[in-house]
Symmetry: C2
Subunit: 356 residues, 2 copies
């Protein structure tokens, strides 16, 4: 098989620990399925600020650009929280998304059988919930002009939210296409009763909807969506929305599954290239203790195999291995009911590797 280049960015906090397990999984799939991966490592986030004076060093960016996919652990931590903007891990995150053209963030929110009770929602409400949030990732208020100025009433701050038709169209088409491979229901979320960008969004959705006659479309206002996710989570299939709304709703959706330590995400651009990372953060409070749950990162590898490489057999093997290990009752601390029986990060990684 041809060699796939994977840029590996461990990042901060528990990032290095969970990434190590994901790399063991990569290796095992090479042995089992005969695929070939070449991994390269780069600094990013807080550790890059400390060692290179910038959250996104040029060589890390170049490494990503020369790769077929990026595997990211997590970035950030209290150490850098009060830094000026250019020296914050988040600035690196926004920078890498823009520089790599990753306009689409895909976050499946699924319920893991073994974690049904971990949700704060009633099990009967959660039953059957299996949704994907498709979030626009390189536009909107995140990337519009921002500045301070003197106004009539003293200092004021300004953020600008901008979307053009093309930016809306490409993410919405992708969401329609994803819906076609699933239950064929798409909820487009906006605030068209207030925002001009949302009106452009909704017009664009309505204009291209006829190209996907098999997909049932609904428009949902963002405030209503925040409610409906709580009231009827299982009624959603694919949700597509702009950057800021997607940030909020994808976190709400992830949390309501109760499985946040297990959820993976993909950030995609045009073509097959993608950046894969767990939904959870760098968890500085438990970093370095060897107790972090590596499953979300391992499943990010499976997502990479599916979406970027088309290695469906290996993706399935990883997902099945995770399920097997969980079904056998193994748990890291975050998902263990009996914390005294919890296993560590490497033990969980080893079990999954052995099950592949």
């Amino acid at each position: 098989a041809d060699v796939k280049k994977i840029a590996v960015i461990a990042g901060d906090g528990i990032g290095p620990e969970v990434i190590a397990e994901a790399e063991k999984v990569l290796k095992k799939t090479e042995e089992v399925f005969g695929y070939r991966f070449e991994t390269e490592h780069g600094l990013f986030g807080g550790i890059a600020i400390d060692q290179k004076g910038t959250p996104l060093p040029q060589d890390t960016l170049d490494m990503c650009k020369n790769s077929d996919a990026v595997l990211l652990g997590a970035v950030g931590g209290p150490k850098w929280d009060n830094n000026p903007k250019e020296l914050r891990p988040e600035t690196g995150l926004l920078g890498i998304r823009k520089a790599l053209g990753l306009f689409s963030n895909i976050r499946p929110a699924v319920i893991f059988d073994c974690l049904k009770d971990a949700s704060t929602l009633k099990p009967e409400v959660l039953e059957g919930t299996d949704l994907i949030v498709v979030r626009e990732l390189t536009g909107g208020i995140y990337f519009g002009e921002k500045f301070r100025r003197e106004g009539a009433n003293g200092e004021e701050a300004v953020d600008t939210c901008v979307y053009n038709v093309q930016e809306v169209e490409r993410i919405v088409r992708q969401a329609f296409e994803i819906a076609q491979t699933r239950s064929k229901r798409l909820a487009s979320v906006d605030k068209a009763n207030v925002l001009e960008t949302s009106r452009l969004w909704r017009e664009t959705v309505n204009r291209i909807a006829p190209d996907y006659p098999d997909v049932e479309l609904e428009h949902v206002l963002v405030d209503n969506c925040a409610m409906q996710l709580l009231r009827r989570p299982s009624s959603f299939d694919v949700i597509v929305t702009e950057n800021m709304f997607g940030d909020i709703l994808s976190d709400e959706a992830a949390m309501l599954t109760g499985s946040i330590g297990m959820l993976s995400s993909a950030s995609l651009g045009e073509g097959a290239f993608g950046l894969y990372e767990p939904v959870h953060g760098s968890a500085p409070d438990i970093a370095g203790q060897g107790i972090a749950n590596p499953i979300a990162t391992v499943l990010s590898v499976a997502l990479m195999f599916r979406l970027t490489f088309g290695y469906h057999d290996a993706a399935e093997a990883i997902e099945r291995a995770v399920k097997e290990v969980l079904d056998a009752g193994h748990r890291t601390g975050d998902i263990a009911v009996d914390k005294s029986k919890a296993i560590g990060t490497t033990a969980m990684g080893d079990l999954i590797v052995n099950a592949i």
Copy 2:
């Protein structure tokens, strides 16, 4: 007692039905407590569009300005959803907020004992939840410049989010003051890792926080807040945030209580003047059937008594009457477990009036 002028705006959908019950409650408190109210009625929302060609007629606005408080039912409905902007009920809502200087929207999210099971959250998670969302209501992306333009990649839409220090300071001070009358915990919600307006917001909060040394302050990022509301709702006391985030989070908070048909809200400016309305909408699907739940609107009257008139005795009497009627097992359809025993809007109103 001096006569208080109340501008009554029934609006659309179930608005007139629930407002009628609230007016009966007003009358009863006059008899019982000797207060004097003068009510005047005005057209607003969809009905005003139909009858006057504008959602916020000048005479309705004048009536509100000449009153001590406004009682609003609900506005909007599918009939006007596809109208151009100037002819939409929401435009009237934004207009009245701005014209009356109602910069603060206060939404208590509380659990009603009899509705504990109505929430989709587990009762043990909900236990003790009693929070207030204080939402900035006349600034931010709602009121900034919005327009279309030709960009390098075709048509684009722009929304502008603007906040000045003074706008932030007045709402945040109000939130601190509310927190001082409660459990003395304030969560200020922003997206300071991305938005300039959020950085101004956070700086302002930090600058004035020393004036409220008895209040415990935490900064919460909006995406994290959407999660924490699900994970630990009872840990919040007062949440203060800007307009758009407040729109989303207050709806999420209301829904998680399971009591959305019972929640009231206040919109305040400088001084005692305020606009009071139920959190629920105009519910066009059940309008005209006499089955709507009037309790949220009745409790909005109690909130008006407390916050605008300082009639704490009457406010308490209303709240106690509602509790008594519910404890006696009476339910409208939306909150009835056994729907066949549900009572109608006027029956519920009569029971409450009799219990005062």
